[in-house]
Amino acid sequence: MSRISERQILMQGNEACAKGAIDAGVRFFAGYPITPSSEIAEILAHDLPSVGGKFIQMEDEIGSMAAVIGASLTGVKAMTATSGPGFSLKQENIGYAAMAEVPCLIVLVQRAGPSTGLPTSPAQGDAMQARWGTHGDHPVIVMAPASVRETYDLTLACVNWSEILRVPAILLMDEVVAHMRENVTLPDPRELDIHDRPGPTLPPGHPDFRPYLPGPDDVPPMAPFGQGYRYHVTGLHHDERGYPVHDGAVAGELGRRLLRKLERREADIARVEWVWGPGRGDRGPRPPDGWPSGRDATVVVSFGSTARSAEAACDLARSQGREAILLRLVTLWPFPDAAIVEAARKVAPGGEILVVEMNFGQVVREVARAAAGQARVRHFGYVSGQLIPPDEIAREIGGRGRTG
């Protein structure tokens, strides 16, 4: 049997995202152009029509998010891509997708904000907005790639989880990851692990069909519009038939279930990578057993492009005799609490957790919450329109700014 050779390509993060989306089965894109995300729309405008997909440029980001929801309800994997100003506009309908359990991928390529900010410069100031941007308690998945290849992988992961759990998933990129070019080897599309939304277990027209009756995993199987089923979808609190209810108990249970379906899979979704050396084998989902050897170690927590600087910084610090390890957050939400608890245990009592992010202190709050006072947690970061250089981070490791 002939095998499609692995595809080695020089590409930028935005291309990897578009490619990953198509390989994940996305066949609908609605968006509105904005730097630094526009390439994703441009590539999909070009590529979707020849693979049976559809692309539409809407009149604004509110409409884009609305169109994604409408399309997804007909059974197609659907996505949009934007940057901070557009992401702000999408919020109401992201909440709608969470409430009505409409799978969708929202790619957010961060630039410096607030407002129009620095359109072509990197930042990570939307980490909290990605989690809490829309009103009300709601489930959401957020993943933050640090390389071009990982952008491809996490696009797939976001689409998969969004479909499996019927939740909006946000791929939180930043300008550096989006525009950086790397030589990547992509997997054979036939070997990918692709998941679709759970389909209804009853045939169309069955009298017992309840569109919002959850399965054992708390996820209701999803019937596509236009394939024989007929039902009602709303952003109001609703019952299993999908019709609005004012019953406090029903509303309360719906709110809990929406969060519970994610909590059940938290251990699978919340991924991290520990990096303890420059070699290929010096990384993994758990820190090495004997680490640290002393009482003055630093766990550097970072994500996205900043994690690349942080990794180099840890190498530098180690070469200067300081004990440092990188804990890279691959998933931001659901938050990888367990990894932070482990980090806290490793560094306490003499060391610290240093959270490095291109903002003035966002994810550090989650880290401090998860560490629950068991270790010292400190933020290092700022927004200047450029990546934070490794030597600056290295100076912070076991050094300046550290007080007892």
């Binding site: 609908f28 029509p49 409409g63 109401e92």
Partner: protein, 295 residues
Amino acid sequence: MSLDYRRYLDETALPLMWCPGCGDGTILKALLEAFASLGLERERVVVVTGIGCWGKADDYIRTNAIHGTHGRALAVATGVKAYRPDLTVVALMGDGDCATIGGNHFIHAARRNIGITAVVSNNLNYGMTGGQFSGTTPAGSKTSTSPYGHAEDGFDLCRLADAAGANFVARTTAYHYRQMVRLIKEALLEPGFAMVEVASPCPTYYGRLNRQGSAREMWRSLKDRARSVGEEGGEARTGVAPGQRPDEEPRSKPADVIVTGVLVRRTRPDFAARYSDVCRRAMKEGGGEAQLDAR
């Protein structure tokens, strides 16, 4: 096949939530009657609403339905129709939903000429939130946010849809039931964007605040003021909106004449037809994989 409108009505959801004398119940019946007369398969119809009194109509309709967000019905409907042009997609909107918060989607849906049937209940104010002014409220009108009289003119929805390029634009009133059924039916058959504006009474707010008398008197006034296009007084091409006379001095009461009937009919190709050309060209040029790899 039963042609009875009740096939499309969810009788378990009755009674209707609307106030006595409201026009929305009649528009609902006309819509369902139009569905019935075309024998539409319920599973192949998607009704999309926004938020408002008229935006609650989906609760009573036994087709697929999406009760969306305020002002975004047309954008949600665009997603449905763009991916599944074979489905009948209907957007039900108040004047707030359609022409105020959702005005941008309205003009672009018309420009894009996407095959959605928009049925707009124009009651000249925001019913659901207590009678504030909307984008169609006539100058001088009293509403709960224009207690001294409204300082702005309102839109003529039909002119707006016409200027934006809609293929089918029609106006009627909640009183003119048979005309309403006929116009909605024609709109449903139009492959491009179609809008039917229905002048509808809101006795609870607009009527009361503007001293238009009882609900009965408001209905009678719709009857008296309507002129079909072509009739004397109904000569204007897109006519006079139910709420205003755009070329005249602002008035403190709605226009004397409501021009009804089909105001615009075009044969511009719809979005689905044009986009399938795009897909054909993409296939021919080899699109996809090969192009991306060479990028």
